[in-house]
């Protein structure tokens, strides 16, 4: 599975481009601030309708323009599907083969992508929000049921908070809260169960990978740290809601549930987020992306497209080599770099090299 063509119109600083990609390796080199990452952003956006740098959609429109447009041809065996996204008037319209779609999963059925970027280090920050975002995005791409439960959980949470923060005591407030508790527990338990399953699988992949890239006998692990964890999730959830209710009414929001969950990364049993060295953190961040890559492969039997933004500047020679060994020629890759030489010497069989300058992209070299 690969992207064959990409049409770009008034997206960030990029010129209006019609790019033809290599099915294996695509390298974008150029000086700083020329638009390399914006190419990666365009591909990511075509897949997820979101910016990987968490930019607002509106900020992806080229300055002085009022729309942006992306269109890509996705090749699966002999099938070609065309995905297009038009962003205009604060709304996006996504089409597959010229027909409007209503669910993002219709795009995920065609392809997935995984990004490695220097920003990934933030997955080890103190704030767990980014880790929950990571796991929610990963699972909902693969599992529509999860997305359904998660959305419903979230909406229930908002509704419940709205009642909690309302200081008036009104008609049957308790009964409404109880009703919302029922939904919160039902949906929350589903979310916890699925997270548990996925993170277990992810851990197996990630700990295996860590051994490959950093030859070591010591164990690297990703563990789920759920707020509710006993054998009887439902009972524990209700008990905790009951226990915290007075406190919640004072604070005005919900204090228990899977919206408080976290992921823990550990090396030899020690939490890397809290105690790891910078090098360990870097490797942990890479390992988790590899986990994502192979997890998606396992679930869909197709390799996602791999986007590597500035990855190689981050690694020493040996790790670079180990890293590239793990990539294979069934994966289409997009790599940005300010330094081409290393990649030239890696001996890839098929590749296209592009140079990026002031938003313009030129193909320099090609081998297929």
């Amino acid at each position: 599975m690969f992207i064959e063509n990409l049409k770009i119109r008034s997206f960030c600083n990029l010129k209006d481009l019609n790019l033809k990609f290599n099915p294996n390796l695509n390298v974008f080199s150029g000086n700083n601030a020329q638009g390399k990452t914006n190419i990666i952003e365009a591909i990511y956006y075509l897949n997820k309708s979101k910016s990987f740098r968490k930019k607002k959609d509106q900020d992806l429109i080229q300055w002085n323009k009022n729309i942006f447009f992306l269109k890509g041809d996705i090749v699966n065996n002999n099938d070609i599907h065309q995905i297009s996204i038009l962003f205009q008037d604060f709304k996006k319209e996504i089409k597959i083969n010229n027909k409007k779609i209503t669910k993002q999963n219709q795009v995920f059925n065609l392809f997935h992508c995984v990004i490695f970027s220097p920003k990934d280090l933030h997955i080890l920050d103190k704030d767990p929000t980014i880790r929950r975002y990571f796991i929610n995005l990963l699972i909902s791409q693969i599992n529509e049921k999860y997305l359904y439960h998660l959305k419903k959980y979230h909406k229930t949470l908002l509704s419940r908070n709205k009642i909690l923060i309302d200081k008036r005591s009104f008609f049957k407030k308790d009964k409404i809260l109880e009703s919302l508790d029922n939904i919160l527990v039902k949906e929350g338990v589903e979310v916890i169960k699925i997270r548990n399953e996925v993170i277990n699988e992810l851990n197996k992949i990630v700990s295996g990978f860590y051994k490959e890239i950093l030859p070591t006998k010591d164990l690297f692990e990703v563990k789920y740290k759920p707020f509710i964890f006993s054998d009887n999730l439902e009972k524990e959830f209700y008990d905790k809601l009951y226990k915290y209710k007075e406190y919640e009414l004072r604070r005005g929001f919900t204090l228990v549930g899977p919206h408080k969950d976290d992921l823990i990364f550990s090396f030899k049993g020690v939490n890397i987020g809290n105690f790891g060295s910078r090098g360990q953190k870097k490797m942990a961040a890479i390992a988790i992306r590899f986990g994502e890559l192979y997890y998606i492969y396992k679930k869909t039997e197709k390799f996602p497209i791999l986007l590597l933004d500035d990855m190689f500047s981050e690694l020493d020679q040996e790790k670079k080599r180990n890293f590239t060994r793990l990539l294979n020629n069934q994966i289409q890759m997009f790599i940005t770099t300010t330094n081409l030489e290393f990649l030239r010497n890696m001996g890839f069989a098929n590749y296209s090299f592009f140079s990026v300058k002031d938003g313009d992209v030129l193909k320099n070299e090609e081998k297929r």
Partner: protein
């Protein structure tokens, strides 16, 4: 170009309607402009007529031109069974199936904390009054499967339970969208047959 003020006003009115965006509102306004005066007055008459003639049934709050709607009046229907729905539109959907023979109760909304809609704004008091009369033996709650619909269903269940009336909830299949409006008629038949005790 500046549009005539009366045109702007019409466009503005149209764009207040659900699902009508600014472009459609414009198209509708220009359509009205081209249409004969007779046509237009028929349209405006029927708008007013609906407002004047249609009211809510005093018993079930379905829309009706009489004080009591034809469904409530129909003595062949099973008055021991009451199906609770959110909107009059839901009654039409279920009636089309022609498998349900009980009565209805329309709440005229759902409990929606995010929009500030509580139980007092719905026809819940009226439902409880109805249930205190002797006839009703079973209530089927057919509110939507979204968070507001579920909240309403559980809330009603808690209120009705003490009255010793059997309460069941319409069984929803695989979650897709979740509005009755989008449920195709076959799955809805199954859902009514497959209702479960709450």
């Amino acid at each position: 170009m500046q549009l005539a003020p009366s045109m702007l006003r019409l466009i503005n009115e149209f764009s207040k309607l659900p699902t009508i965006g600014p472009k459609t509102a414009q198209r509708l306004a220009f359509y009205i402009l081209k249409t004969s005066k007779n046509e237009v007055s028929r349209l405006s008459d029927s708008l007013l007529e609906v407002k004047e003639k249609v009211k809510y049934c005093q018993i079930c709050f379905n829309i009706s031109e009489e004080d009591v709607c034809p469904i409530c009046k129909d003595t062949r229907r099973d008055s021991s069974l009451i199906c609770v729905v959110e909107q009059p539109f839901d009654v039409i959907v279920i009636e089309k199936l022609a498998t349900y023979k009980g009565l209805y109760h329309v709440l005229l909304g759902n409990i929606s904390p995010l929009e500030g809609v509580g139980p007092e704004e719905l026809k819940i008091k009226e439902l409880l009054e109805r249930l205190k009369g002797k006839e009703a033996k079973e209530v089927i709650i057919a509110t939507n499967s979204d968070v507001q619909g579920e909240t309403t269903a559980i809330y009603l269940h808690k209120l009705i339970q003490p009255l010793r009336i059997y309460v069941s909830r319409i069984a929803y299949g695989i979650p897709v969208g979740g509005n009755l409006e989008y449920t195709d008629e076959v799955t809805l038949t199954k859902a009514i047959e497959g209702r479960r005790a709450m």
